[in-house]
Amino acid sequence: MKNYAFFIAAILAIGCSSNDELNKEEYPVFEEKHKTHTPDLNNPTVNSVEVKNSAHFHTIEIKQMKFLPAELTLQSGDTVMWINNDFVLHDVTEENKKRWTSAPIATGESWSKIVTESAEYFCSLHVVMKGKLTVE
């Protein structure tokens, strides 16, 4: 399960290279489930773009009822992927105004979001589980 999730994380990092040319301002709420993503593995430029993109791709593992890391500093437009490696359902929900939510994430699945502003978030299923994103 765990290996699967990290494999997917790697695939998404590669897959996101195709979005590199997009003007992010036009796609401020771009987000997706990794499952629907079809990376172009035949694209010969994949490797170089992957390296370039990795600084803007972050994974947060959900395990033993914690977001790991619980606090993350990133740049506007970076992609964050939460991976549920716990044995129960969790979600990722903006805490103060409920501006966004992942909806429940099953064991072994993940959810990604392009982050453009700082946020305090929590799991609405386990309200004491909290995390923080700080956009520099």
């Binding site: 033993q64 914690k66 129960v88 359902l89 299923l125 386990h126």
Partner: protein, 167 residues
């Protein structure tokens, strides 16, 4: 606070030596009991926070039971009924009678107080009785992995408890 409930501390009192098959039975029963409390809450409460909490209890405790079921199948162990499981069930019957006799805010308070007390008791029992008594390393690991979820539930129940007294 929990005086109206039979205190679920039977584990520590009897301090019996449990086999792994008996530990598995206790683990399943303890989770089933919390699901049965949540089902009462879903019928009786109108408080949104309590209803959400009860849903989480049903989901999570079912997930634990699923894990336990998969493990005992893998180990070829059949959970074995025992004095601790039976005592837990008979205490739960008393608690369910108390819960069923209440309604409105009195029910919300009784349910939440019991969730706090029950999770404290189960966490104590797992850490101090079940884990030390378990021989099988995988069963030990499962029990160890369940504790953070139970602690999160306890924190959540305590938050709801505070919210109710603030009203």
């Amino acid at each position: 606070m929990a005086s109206m409930f039979a205190p679920p501390i039977v584990f520590a009192q009897n301090n019996p030596k449990l086999t792994d098959a008996e530990v598995a039975s206790v683990a399943v029963v303890a989770n089933q009991i919390d699901i049965s409390y949540a089902e009462i809450a879903k019928k009786k409460s109108k408080d949104a926070e309590i209803l959400k909490f009860a849903d989480t209890m049903i989901n999570d405790h079912n997930a634990v039971i699923g894990q336990a079921a998969a493990l005992v199948k893998k180990l070829g162990v059949t959970p074995k009924d025992n004095a601790v499981s039976q005592q837990l069930l008979s205490d739960a019957e008393k608690t369910k009678k108390v819960l069923n006799s209440k309604s409105g805010k009195a029910f919300d308070k009784a349910y939440t107080d019991n969730e706090v007390a029950y999770h404290k008791a189960v966490i104590g029992a797992i850490e101090n009785l079940l884990i030390p008594e378990t021989d099988n390393p995988e069963l030990k690991e499962l029990l160890t992995n369940v504790v953070p979820a139970l602690k999160t539930h306890l924190g959540h129940a305590e938050m709801v408890q505070k919210m109710l007294t603030g009203n």
